[in-house]
């Protein structure tokens, strides 16, 4: 019956040492883990992340064991790479536990043995397979980091090399141990060790004494490397083995598009985050979950246009600052300005792990994270969408913005204008609120206050500031009004009773102003019955009304105009000739607050399919779409750093050879309109909202 003597060529003393080492490893792991836990507890208390345990556990298990977030479109190589390493690691670990069970529990206490026969054969076949996958995954990782020359791996740290080196050494010595034993003992079951068997055959001619000696040396080095690995886990990026799934488990489960609200804001003394302790404990876990994979950078508008903000750097640096303040081994900390005087550039030598304590004077905002980095963010969510361990970057940035705005009153001058305008006119511009409905009068659209019987209305059209005041935006609103008329939708607008939804204020950190604006709108909407559907033509308004107004007592059914138009077409209320546009048609651009934040990817595409007979898909699309640069109140700030985000995206749209770009957001429209003029392509490249394309298709029919 095939089996093997457990502990062949290993003395009792060596076994004793091994068990002592295992105990030491466990203690050190527990110690490292406890230090981290204590550090996280310095954050603000927050009960949310521990609710709905069952749902959280299911999600965390699926993400961890099925690689739901690692194996995604565009990430086949790195997804498989991690899958191989992960399952190799898990199965080899289970394999070790099985041997432990046989040798230390079943045999001594029950006098039984299962580590033989068919079980043994299957065990060996499987262990060899997963050991091989483990090695393949590791070699793929070595090639990915050091061979492929990816922009995001322009610099690597010694931590990256140590982790790969240790794991490779463990995998190789594991197979070598097996091969040496097979060769020295002439094991008749050798062929079932199908990976190490060829090595054993090659070693066949070597003197058995040499093989035995080599086996002992390899055994000790394998064991010591294993100890080193376990001690290294809590102080390196390998901590993600534990912190990654923990972070996924603790993720925000509120509507993902809603920023948290500051309750009783008028009674607070302190706002947002100015120092580590101001983060919630869950947010502190974020910083330890990062293993620097850099997927956050792939679709990041600021990283890809050479701006200071690089989400990975932000997380790595705050994490290192946190760890060093707690006296734990970690990367960079304190003031760091590289040769060019630019903060937050690529990983540098300063990011090397170190135990140097942070000088107490180092401020989180200013020394560790620059204000430029914080104001760069468009809140497009590309980083959060791609992060395999669901780090929540955008709320971290908004929390720090909140401190700058509400407490320190330190922010770009353009935002002073924005806030003043929002306060005075309830719109981001200097147009008086009384002129909000002027476009509607011209287009024959009614205001709710003028409607004799509001109950007869089907929907309320929420126009938004851009389409109310901006001449270009008004064309979108007018097109939508034409569509409503063609489908005989009874609707009205709030008009002069509508005010800014508050999105730019909230994302710029002015939570107080957001709440004032939102409360005013909620009061009006509740007055007109909250049961009516609201159709919004601005994804920012759409998102805020739908996902954030419930925090302040406004519960409405809100849909975006792309969804409503799709509904009108599919129900047959809106008749469009299934035409094909002349020329090459449009490329479709996903607005972040429609796509990534609310997962409305198909409705606008279906509409394009119906009226234009299709559209060109850009390489960066859907959840991997690329921001136009307007979100997070960036539309109201100057883009002084790096190259233009909108130009980067426009060039991608132009490269599809389409005749124009179709969007579903007035801010995207204006960013791209500016872009086509700057790139000097306005003659041959159009920018249209899908409502305009649909309205034009109606016109050609009549």
């Amino acid at each position: 019956m095939p089996t093997r003597p457990i502990g062949w060529n290993v003395s009792e003393v060596a076994f004793g040492v091994m068990y002592v080492l295992v105990a030491v490893q466990a203690l050190l792991l527990a110690y490292g883990g406890t230090r981290r836990y204590v550090m996280w507890r310095r954050g603000r208390p927050l009960s949310g992340p521990l609710d709905r345990v069952g749902e959280r556990a299911r999600h965390a298990l699926a993400v961890t064991f099925l690689h739901r977030r690692l194996l995604r479109p565009g990430y086949l190589y790195s997804g498989l790479m991690h899958l191989f390493i992960f399952w190799g690691f898990v199965v080899l670990f289970i394999g070790t536990l099985i041997v432990l069970l046989e040798a230390d529990i079943v045999r001594p206490y029950f006098g039984l043995s299962f580590y033989q026969g068919t079980f043994y054969v299957v065990y060996k076949l499987v262990i060899n397979l997963f050991g091989l996958l483990f090695l393949v995954g590791l070699l793929m990782a070595v090639y990915r980091r050091y061979g492929q020359q990816l922009p995001r791996f322009r610099r690597s740290l010694s931590d990256d090399a140590i982790v790969l080196g240790l794991l490779l050494f463990l995998g190789l010595t594991g197979f070598l141990l097996q091969a040496l034993r097979l060769a020295a003992t002439h094991d008749s079951a050798a062929p079932i060790h199908w990976v190490s068997y060829p090595v054993a055959l090659a070693l066949g001619g070597v003197d058995p004494a040499v093989l035995t000696g080599a086996h002992a040396v390899t055994w000790w080095s394998h064991m010591l490397a294993n100890t080193a690995l376990l001690v290294y886990i809590p102080v390196s990026k390998l901590a993600h083995i534990f912190t990654g799934p923990a972070n996924v488990f603790l993720r925000a489960t509120d509507p993902k598009a809603a920023l948290n609200t500051i309750a009783n804001i008028e009674e607070q003394e302190h706002f947002g985050v100015a120092k580590l302790e101001d983060f919630s404990w869950k947010q502190l876990v974020n910083f330890d979950a990062c293993m620097r994979c850099g997927r956050c950078l792939d679709f990041c508008p600021t990283f890809n246009t050479g701006k200071p903000l690089k989400p990975r750097q932000l997380i790595v640096e705050i994490g290192a600052y946190m760890n060093r303040q707690a006296g734990l081994l970690a990367g960079p900390a304190g003031p760091r300005i590289d040769e060019a005087g630019v903060r937050g550039s690529e990983l540098t030598a300063a990011d090397e792990p170190s135990l140097v304590q942070v000088p107490v004077i180092a401020n989180l905002i200013g020394d560790v994270v620059s204000e430029d980095e914080l104001w760069d963010c468009t809140t497009c969510r590309a980083c959060m969408e791609q992060c395999p361990v669901q780090i929540e970057h955008v709320p971290l940035i908004v929390e720090m913005r909140r401190n700058l705005v509400l407490e320190q009153s330190k922010f770009p001058q353009e935002l002073v204008t924005l806030f003043n305008n929002l306060e005075r006119n309830a719109n981001p511009y200097s147009f008086p609120a009384s002129t909000r409905a002027e476009w509607a009068a011209a287009a024959g659209v009614q205001e709710l206050a003028q409607v004799a019987d509001p109950s007869s209305l089907e929907v309320i059209y929420w126009v938004g500031c851009m389409s109310s005041f901006d001449a270009r935006g008004q064309r979108v609103a007018t097109a939508l009004a034409k569509i409503f008329a063609a489908a005989e939708v009874r609707f009205a607008i709030l008009g002069r009773e509508e005010g800014c939804s508050g999105d730019p204020a909230r994302r710029a950190g002015n939570e107080y102003l957001f709440q004032l604006l939102a409360q005013a709108n909620i009061e009006r909407l509740n007055h007109y019955s909250s049961e009516k559907r609201i159709v919004a033509s601005c994804p920012h308004c759409f998102n805020t009304l739908k996902n954030e107004y419930p925090q302040l007592g406004g519960n409405y059914e809100v849909i975006h105009h792309s969804q409503f138009i799709q509904e009108l077409i599919s129900s047959g209320r809106l008749k469009v000739a299934p035409g094909v546009l002349e020329g090459n048609g449009f490329a479709y651009h996903d607005p972040c607050y429609l796509g990534r934040y609310n997962e409305v990817y198909d409705a606008p595409r279906d509409v394009m399919q119906s009226v234009a007979g299709g559209f060109a898909e850009m390489p960066r699309c859907r959840d991997r779409g690329f921001c136009c640069g307007a979100g997070g109140a960036r539309a109201f700030m100057e883009e002084k750093r790096g190259t233009r985000i909108s130009h980067n995206r426009l060039n991608e749209a132009i490269d599809t050879r389409a005749d124009g770009v179709a969007v579903a957001c007035p801010f995207c429209v204006t960013m791209f309109e500016d872009g086509v003029r700057a790139l000097n392509v306005e003659e041959r490249f159009a920018v249209k909202d899908i409502a305009e394309i649909v309205a034009a298709a109606l016109g050609s029919e009549s």
Partner: protein
């Protein structure tokens, strides 16, 4: 350094002029509904300058405004931005005050406040664009006045250096304190109030002083009297000049223009 800043509440200057109506009977301007008035822009620059001087040298910033009940909002805004105290001069008798009366009332209020090192005012208000009141205050208080000022330098207990805008550049003047400076918008960017300031302003009790409190002599007429307030009417008419040739048309056009005394 104890500084007094005078502020005026004005209609939002961003409102297009066409949105205002004029009541000729009462000689008042009626702003569009639903638009809240704001602190005069130049006054915000003056307040910002005062706050920076105080933060640098210590002392106290007091804001004073003359106006109806609604002017309290401008004072609250000033407290939100960081002013230490505010005084609201509010009396129906002063509602239609011209610039001399306003200057007299504000000067009396500043005198009542006691010790003052520096008075900062906006160079003019965006509604009337008169630019008279702050110079009147200086006259009544017997203070040296410099206006319009784009920069304040080298402040000490006795003097400051004021950069006065002149046609082709600026003058640098060392001014003995106490003095009054008319602040122009080149000086700074007014801050946006932190939330704590907004909350403090919400709670602040602002004392109201009437004409009697200021011991203003009643019945002193203003120097400016508003006779009529109206919106200019514009008339346009078109006349086509008929002629055989361009040359003849030109000659006829010239005659017409001369008739109309346009050339």
């Amino acid at each position: 350094m104890d500084i007094v800043v005078t502020v005026k509440q004005v209609p939002d200057p961003d409102i297009p002029p066409t949105h205002f109506r004029v009541d000729e009977a009462t000689r008042t301007v009626i702003p569009p509904a639903g638009v809240s008035p704001v602190m005069n822009g130049y006054d915000a620059h003056a307040l910002e300058a005062a706050l920076r001087l105080r933060d640098q040298l210590g002392g106290k910033v007091t804001v004073v405004s003359l106006g109806p009940d609604s002017a309290r909002d401008a004072l609250k805004r000033a407290i939100a931005m960081g002013a230490d105290a505010a005084v609201h001069v509010n009396d129906p008798a002063l509602n239609a005050a011209d610039s001399t009366t306003t200057a007299r009332a504000l000067a009396a209020a500043i005198k009542k406040l006691g010790h003052v090192d520096l008075v900062l005012s906006g160079r003019q208000a965006s509604d009337t664009d008169g630019g008279q009141v702050h110079l009147g205050i200086a006259t009544h208080l017997g203070l040296p006045a410099v206006s319009p000022v784009q920069k304040i330098d080298d402040p000490s207990a006795e003097t400051v250096v004021a950069e006065r805008i002149v046609e082709d550049g600026y003058q640098r003047l060392r001014v003995r304190l106490p003095a009054l400076l008319g602040v122009s918008s080149e000086m700074n960017e007014p801050r946006y109030p932190p939330l704590k300031g907004i909350m403090a302003a919400g709670r602040a009790q602002i004392p109201v002083w009437t004409a009697a409190d200021l011991e203003l002599e009643a019945g002193q007429p203003g120097k400016v009297q508003l006779r009529r307030l109206y919106v200019e009417t514009r008339e346009a008419s078109v006349e086509i000049i008929e002629a055989e040739s361009p040359g003849e048309a030109g000659a006829k056009l010239a005659d017409k223009l001369r008739e109309a005394r346009l050339v």
